[in-house]
Every structure is written in structure tokens, then in C-alpha cells.
Amino acid sequence: MTRRIVGTALMGLVIAAMIVAAWLVPGEQGVNLVSLILVWALFAIGFDLVFGVAGMMSFGHAALFGVGGYVATNLMVFHGLDFMSALAAAAVGGALLAFGLSVFAMRVSGLFFSLLTLALAQMIYVLASNRLRHWTGGLDGIAGVPRPALLGVDFYDNRNYYLFLVAVFVAGLALMALLRTSPFGRALRAIQANDVRAAQLGYNVNRLRQSAFIVSGAYAGVSGALLASLMFYISPQMLHWTTSGDVVIMAVLGGKGTLLGPVLGVALFELLKEELSQYTQYWYGLIGLVFILATIFLRHGIAGLFLGRGDEGKGGSS
């Protein structure tokens, strides 16, 4: 137990150090990289509630991520809504879509759940790429996604926007920490460990899983909106199935089922990408190699190194 606490604290320290260090690096390079990490990390911790905690391997989270971004973008660009309201709308949009997807996808479980979420998300991608082009800008996407106008601060300056992202990230992380230790989080773990027994204990298994999916959708929606405004740009690429694949990779690399593991997974992924791509055009292959090795040898991801092995991440979606 103490190992867990020490380990978690250490992971927290690493993340805090990364956030501070990026700010201390003069210029924009540090903050730009860590901004991206924070946004994806928010996506990943929300994803892990479904994947690591509730044990459902969703391969359709790209849909929630992208639709959140599109909801916010459309409201701001076409309807002149302010940023914070649009961000809230992205959360609602992500949650609603998650609810909609769950109605379809939760008819089946295990591998079929993965395949069905993949198919639904990919269909949304296809729709967004052509049929809904008036709403999505088609494959060209929409450029000029705004940033917040709050307290007279210029968030078009990347260093200022970084502070905003850190605030949202910390709030999202704290909320997730609460959720995971709450009775809701414990019930989800019970389901993951043994859903039949959990049902016998009186948990409404389906309802709980669906709730987890909806919360996860809200996280994905918010992070999608943040990514769009960070990049000033959104396109259906965010909805493509490879985006779902990326977030799965990040969560597993970091350690699924842990609060901070996925954050470290994202950080390692983005850092590798940033560094390797400066030296070789074959960086994606190298990341693939790292990823294969991690899957074979680091069963519990980076978090396993901090927490010691054994007490986390058993079981799964099958």
C-alpha cells in the first residue's frame, strides 16, 4: 500500500516538474510541447475511465474527441458564442454522443464492443469528411478556431494559453481523482474484476458502465475543443480511427487503470515523437518498436515501474 502512495506521489512529482520546467524554458518551445501533452492527457485520463477502470476497450473515442472539437468550433465560429460556454457545450456534446454511442455499442460486449465502437466512430468520420461538409469544412477542416477572451489576457500568446491549459488540466485531473475514489469508481472496479459478482451484489452493471462512458465522453469533448483552439484548426482527421488507436497506445504505454499513468504515457509518446522526428524520418517506426517492447515487457506500463507490479490492471475486456 505504501508503495502505491509513494509511487503515485512520485508520478505526480514528475508531471508537476514537467509542467513547471516547460514554463521555465524561455520562448515557446517548452510550453508548446507540454500544452499538447496536457490536452491529450486530459483525453487519455477520460479514456482510461472506460478502458482501465471499467474495463471496456473502446476503439471509438476519436468520435467523442472530434465531435467535442467540432461542437465548440461551430458554436464559436458560426454563432459567436464565447469560449467558456463553447467549452461547456463541447463537454455536453461529447457526453451526449457518448450516451448515443453507448445505446448502440453496449448491446454487445468484449471484442464486439471494440469493433462496434470502431465502426460507429469511423462512420462518423466518413460522414464528417463529406456528407456533413457544411458543418465540418469537409476534409479541409475549419481554420481559425478561436481562443478564450478572458480577464483581458491575450491567450493568442502561447505562454498565456499554456497557463489556461494547465488550469483546465489540473481541474480535470482533480475531478477524475475524486471520481475514481468515490463509490462510483469503486463500483466500476468491482465490475471490471467480476461483472457477474458485481451484479449479484446489487450493482446495475449496465447503468454504471454507461455512466463511465458518458463521463469519458465529456472529457474527450473538452479536450477535443482545447486541441482545436490550441491548433487554431480542426479537421475530420481528429475523428479518424487512428486517433482512437493513438489514445489506446498512450494509455497502455503509461499504465491503464491508473490515474497518472496515462498522463505519463502521453508525455512519453509526444516527447518521443518530438525528439525522434528531429533526427529521423523513421520516427513512427521507432515509436512502434518502443511500443511493441513495452507491450511485451512492461505489462503495467510506465506506472508499473513506479507502483511495483501486481496489484493493478488485472483483467480486461474479454
Binding site: G27, E28, Q29, N32, L36, V77, F78, V126, S129, N130, R133, H134, G137, G138, L139, D140, G141, I142, A143, G144, P146, A149, D154, F155, Y156, D157, N158, M231, F232, Y233, S235, Q237, M238, S277, Q281
Partner: protein, 393 residues
């Protein structure tokens, strides 16, 4: 239409937020840093290399300097995706890059354009053809020296007129730019005297056109317009070749073939007509000098991508140099009223209203080449004058 509104909005937002110091560049720079965001992997990965060679030649030709300081390129790969394009451009602007060059896919270029508007950094486009990149009152710091889709569609119309085509079957990629192109082409039907006898919209990435080709073969069309580009265009022409569709019909399209695509298409490309962005066979002194220098350096003829990149970069750097100033606004003012009399394509003129270069349009046919030409090469058959291709602003 809508995109124009965003650009205005973001421009306004950027202006309203009163930019602090980092955006106004210091007056004593030691180098001129060009952030070049191109595709070296992904769907357009093939194009980046040629553009790089072209742009580097334009710099080398000036002794590597502009405004008395050395020019430095940073080459970045956007993987043919907008997000990495913005990410890498943002990083380079953070390091104080003086301008953006790129990207290739219109999606990435549009994303870079909005960055250029927000950061007030000049942006040079030499390949992306989306009409939305240069609209009147659009992005203030962004310029295109190469073809637009609209002008290429006009070339298709002019070609149909010159050849006296009567019945045209059109296949269009289900993509905004090409759909608009199709509408423009269809709108001119009555006036020019052709008739659209069939039309299909194929999803981007279609790997099998056989059913559509079969419909074309069974129609009474005398011409096939292929509003499908890149990979998909190659796939179409190859599969059309397997039923000899081109034997008694003219196959043509806005950017359907060039030497690179023809080499992948194989013999089926012979006789296909296409708009050409730039061609090494153009007879003028600047072009002869360029082709000679390029062949000396790289042992091959410059591709249209290399030619357009060379031409645009050379023009822009000249305008910057002539401004004699480090003020971005002076560069913009100088370039937007600039006339480029010794372009490798003849003459280009920047239009101040939409920052689009008015220029001639080249049209060619794929023919067998004799060494040292590639096995399949374009023969330029028509040169359309700018006033036939560009409307008033």
C-alpha cells in the same frame, strides 16, 4: 464563403488582442529564417522533396542571402496532415522564423494560413490549389504564386471549347474543391456548347472505378472529364486503360497527369490530357537557365512542384530584398503590387485584391518521350492567356 468569414473573424480577434512584443520582430536580425512546412511522408510525401530542391535553388541563385543576411531554411514534414503542420509551424515561429512556406495539401495550407494571419507572418504558397486560399479581402499575409483550382477548371472549359467536345461524362472526387470545380464546369456547358451526359461523385480514396468506367464505356460520351487528382486519378486512368476507354474518347482533367504520375500510371497514361502547373520544356530564358541549373545539381528534369517552388520563392525573395526593410508590412506592400516579368512561366502579376498571381495556364498531353526525357512525358499543347482564366477581382 464561410471560410472568408472565419478569416476575417480571426484576423479581427488577433488585431483586437493587441499583440505584445514577440510578434514584432527585432530590427537587427542575423539571418532570414524560412519555416518550410511540406509533406515528406503521407499522401503527398512524394512532393516535398522536389519543392525543397526548387526552393533551395532559388536561394542558392541569390548567393544564399536576402537583405544582406544569410537565408536559413527549417524543413519540416507535416505527414500530409494539418495538425502536425500547425504544430511544427508554431514551434518554428516560436524560434523567430520570418516566414512560412507551404504546405502541400490545401487542408494543411489553410491551417498555416490562419496561423499566418494570427501571427502576422508572411506565408508563401506555391502548390495548394484550393480557391479559398486567395479570396478578395482574405488573409493579409498570405500569397499564392501558383495555379488555383478555379483557373484549372477554366482551362478544362477552354480545352473543351478548342477541341469542340460535345458530350462529356464527368467523374468528380467527393471533396469540396473538386465539387466546386465540377459545378463551375457544368455552369459553362450551354455557353461553350458541350453537354454533361453523366456524372458521378466518387469518395476520396476510391480504389475501384470499374463500375463507373463501365458506365462511361456504355454512354455516348466523346470525352471523359476526371476531376479526381493524385493517387485516385492514377487509379482511374490505369483502370480505364484496362478497357481501352481512351481509344475513342478524350480523357482530360485539371491536374490529372504529369511526369511523376504518368510514370506510376504506365502506358495507360498515353493520350491523356491535363492541366500542367509548370513544365521544364517552356521556351524562355529564365526557364532554360533554371532547368539547366536544376539538371546540373540533381541529374533530372525539375518536376512541376520543383518549378513552382523555385519560381515563387525567387519572386518573393526578390520583393523582400527590394523593400530594403525588415518590416513585414513593407514586404507585403511590395509583393502585392509586384510584376514578375521573368518568371519561368513567362509573366506573373500579383493581384493586390486577393494575393493571387495572375498567370498563363499550361495544358499538355502525355506522349512517349525520347531520352533524356522520361519514358512518358507531357507535351505542352496549349497555353491559355491569363485574362481567359482569371475573372475581375
Amino acid at each position: 464563403m464561410k471560410r472568408r468569414t472565419f478569416l476575417k473573424m480571426t484576423g479581427a480577434a488577433a488585431a483586437a488582442s493587441a499583440f505584445p512584443a514577440p510578434f514584432v520582430r527585432a530590427a537587427t536580425p542575423e539571418e532570414y529564417h524560412i519555416a518550410a512546412i511540406l509533406s515528406f511522408s503521407g499522401a503527398y510525401g512524394l512532393i516535398g522533396g522536389g519543392m525543397r530542391r526548387g526552393a533551395e535553388l532559388a536561394v542558392a541563385e541569390r548567393g544564399g542571402k536576402v537583405l544582406g543576411v544569410p537565408i536559413r531554411f527549417s524543413w519540416e514534414d507535416d505527414e500530409t496532415k494539418p495538425q502536425p503542420a500547425v504544430q511544427k509551424a508554431t514551434r518554428l515561429l516560436g524560434q523567430g522564423a520570418n516566414m512560412l512556406f507551404g504546405a502541400i495539401s490545401s487542408a494543411s495550407t489553410l491551417a498555416l494560413q490562419s496561423l499566418s494571419t494570427q501571427r502576422r507572418v508572411p506565408h508563401l504558397v506555391t502548390i495548394s490549389a484550393d480557391d479559398a486560399l486567395t479570396v478578395p479581402g482574405g488573409a493579409r499575409y498570405s500569397f499564392r504564386t501558383s495555379n488555383t483550382m478555379g483557373m484549372e477548371v477554366q482551362m478544362c472549359v477552354e480545352f473543351a471549347r478548342r477541341r469542340g467536345l460535345r458530350k462529356v461524362y464527368v467523374v468528380t472526387a467527393d471533396y469540396q474543391v473538386t465539387r466546386t470545380g465540377f459545378e463551375q464546369f457544368a455552369a459553362r456547358a450551354a455557353e461553350v456548347g458541350y453537354e454533361i451526359v453523366g456524372s458521378d461523385f466518387a469518395p476520396l480514396g476510391t480504389r475501384d472505378f470499374s463500375v463507373i468506367i463501365d458506365k462511361m464505356a456504355r454512354s455516348d460520351a466523346d470525352a471523359i472529364l476526371v476531376m479526381v487528382t493524385g493517387n485516385d486519378g492514377v487509379t482511374f486512368v490505369r483502370q480505364a486503360g484496362q478497357v481501352a476507354l481512351g481509344a475513342d474518347r478524350v480523357i482530360f482533367g485539371p491536374v490529372l497527369q504529369d511526369e511523376v504520375l504518368a510514370s506510376v500510371t504506365g502506358p495507360a497514361a498515353l493520350g491523356v490530357n491535363s492541366g500542367v502547373r509548370y513544365h521544364f520544356s517552356l521556351e524562355n530564358d529564365p526557364n532554360r537557365a533554371f532547368v539547366e541549373a536544376y539538371r546540373a545539381a540533381h541529374g533530372e528534369f525539375p518536376s512541376s512542384f520543383a518549378g513552382e517552388a523555385y519560381d515563387g520563392m525567387r519572386w518573393w525573395l526578390r520583393a523582400v530584398d527590394e523593400s530594403g526593410s525588415w518590416d513585414v508590412e513593407d514586404w507585403v506592400k511590395n509583393f502585392e503590387s509586384s510584376v514578375y516579368a521573368d518568371s519561368v512561366e513567362g509573366r506573373k502579376q500579383m493581384r493586390a485584391c486577393d494575393h493571387q498571381a495572375a498567370q498563363v495556364g499550361l495544358w499538355g498531353e502525355v506522349v512517349k518521350g525520347e531520352a533524356p526525357l522520361p519514358e512518358l512525358t507531357m507535351r505542352i499543347t496549349d497555353i491559355f492567356e491569363a485574362d481567359r482564366l482569371f475573372g475581375a477581382c
